[in-house]
Amino acid sequence: MLTDLLGIPPQVLFGQLLLGLINGAFYAVLSLGLAVIFGLLNIVNFSHGALYMLGAFATLALVQFFGIGYWGALVLAPLMVGALGIVIERLLLRRLVGVDHLYGLLLTFGLALVIEGTFVKLFGASGIPYAAPAALSGGVNLGFMFLPWYRAWVVLASVVVCLATWLLFERTKIGAYLRAGTENPKLLQAFGVNVPMLTTLAYGYGVALAAFAGVLAAPITQVNPLMGSNLIIVVFAVVVIGGMGSIIGAIVTGLAMGMIEGLTKVFWPEASATVIFLVMAIVLILRPAGLFGKTA
């Protein structure tokens, strides 16, 4: 076997691949949200990490104040944070239509700093634990590793949400509006489609995806105000590799980059933190529009 040849026990290899897949699931959901937003708003949403964090905090708040547990939070937290996203789009981002994209970047980046700064002030920078739901406690011994049920669930839930989003885009009327709106929003609006509303909803949906990832993360990483700012840098690299605004690109690249990271941990652990950026650099040189991006 290949693994024997390289002197690496299969447990280690498959174990890291699986861990990589779990990270990849987060990359996929987060970069998918960024892709949805980029399509209609033409901005890179630098608030994405902060909104992901808000999803996790909403999960905490729901159980603390309303006794609503994990399964309820899985639905309610994305709705709550998505609603906040709609307010942000209506109140702030809406005003940036027609000005340089740089302003959108600055605004969303500033927003992230404000949100994260406020939460650090309120809750400190240390993590708050959140228990995985009882139904998903324990795990299964796969032979090469012990797989906690909760982690298997994260991969499953992420893949389902990604596929559902892809189907929404490719197979529905709303999806046709979203694709057309990405290409030529003005013409779409001249045909009678309420593009400003479509844009608001797209932002809300992208934000809700970030919050959904935040709920999934709550039982894994401790919930803390800066949990998003570390993760989001990698996710931006994933978006660049996949191609700005490509739905399928975000999903495939997210999962693939997680696994490449896992593989690198096996063969060259020191490089695992940088391998995605290395891939990004190579992709930028060979295919500046990204693997799935349309070359203009």
């Binding site: 027609g98 593009v195 400003p196």
Partner: protein, 250 residues
């Protein structure tokens, strides 16, 4: 030919009156600092087919874009079926029954032919059915699963026409629909426009191809430098030939 239109839709017996579908007064339009339309006045009645003629850059496309609300800065008055739309958002104007076929055709690459066809929402009752449209444009039926922009130029033009006929819009703004098309396809579009006139559509046609437009149109608006410099009825074509020579010859 007179501009008096027999109106059957309002239910009156033998009502003969002009129903103004489109009335534009003192329309100015701007692209940033540049002033593209300098006070356009024109009226189009129900069932009429009019053309906007003029040299390149005369402001014909800008006029159509101003009507559908795609020019950011516009002043004056644009009444669509009696409703003032000078400050109205494009998606609301469309729902007054305006169908727009842009100069660049605007076929969406990320949509299939059929998705392109089905894209514009219905804005009024009485649009053509998909079957009727596929009868009218058989090429589109054959290629319904193809990517929109994989169609030939002529097919894309047919698609751009077909998709606004589905919506029930009865004011059609058509920008250079014959540009770059083979004569057979131009003949096809002539047939289509004759059929549309028979059905009572109101059409504003921007054209370079005068031979295509002349027999179809009730009136011609000649534009130059962002103004309408002449209005010519069909029965005056011969008498006013010198105007065409002055403003349209290159």
């Amino acid at each position: 030919m007179s501009a008096i239109i027999e109106n059957h839709e309002l239910g009156g017996q033998h009502v003969s009156e002009r129903i103004e579908e489109l009335r534009i007064q003192d329309l100015h339009a701007f692209y940033g600092e540049s002033h593209a339309l300098h006070g356009i006045d024109l009226t189009v009645c129900q069932g009429e087919l009019v053309t906007l003629l003029g040299r390149n850059g005369a402001g014909r496309t800008t006029t159509l874009r101003a009507i559908v609300g795609l020019i950011g800065r516009r002043t004056g008055s644009i009444m669509v079926k009696g409703t003032e739309v000078i400050n109205t958002a494009p998606h609301i104007i469309a729902h007054l029954g305006v169908g727009y076929c842009p100069e660049e055709r605007g076929i969406f690459a990320s949509l299939s032919v059929e998705e392109n066809l089905m894209l514009p929402p219905r804005v009024a009752a009485g649009g053509m059915s998909v079957e009727e449209l596929y009868d009218m444009f058989p090429n589109l039926a054959e290629r319904r699963r193809s990517q929109g922009t994989r169609l030939s130029g002529g097919e894309q033009q047919m698609l751009a026409m077909a998709r606004i006929l589905r919506t029930g819009a009865n004011i059609l703004l058509l920008d250079e629909i014959t540009e770059g098309l083979a004569p057979v396809i131009v003949d096809k579009l002539t047939e289509v426009l004759i059929a549309l006139k028979a059905r009572g559509y109101t059409v504003v046609l921007v054209e370079q191809n005068f031979r295509f437009a002349a027999p179809l149109a009730d009136r011609h608006f000649v534009m130059d430098h962002g103004k309408i410099v002449a209005t010519i009825r069909q029965d005056e074509l011969a008498a006013k030939q010198h105007i065409f020579d002055k403003y349209l010859s290159v």
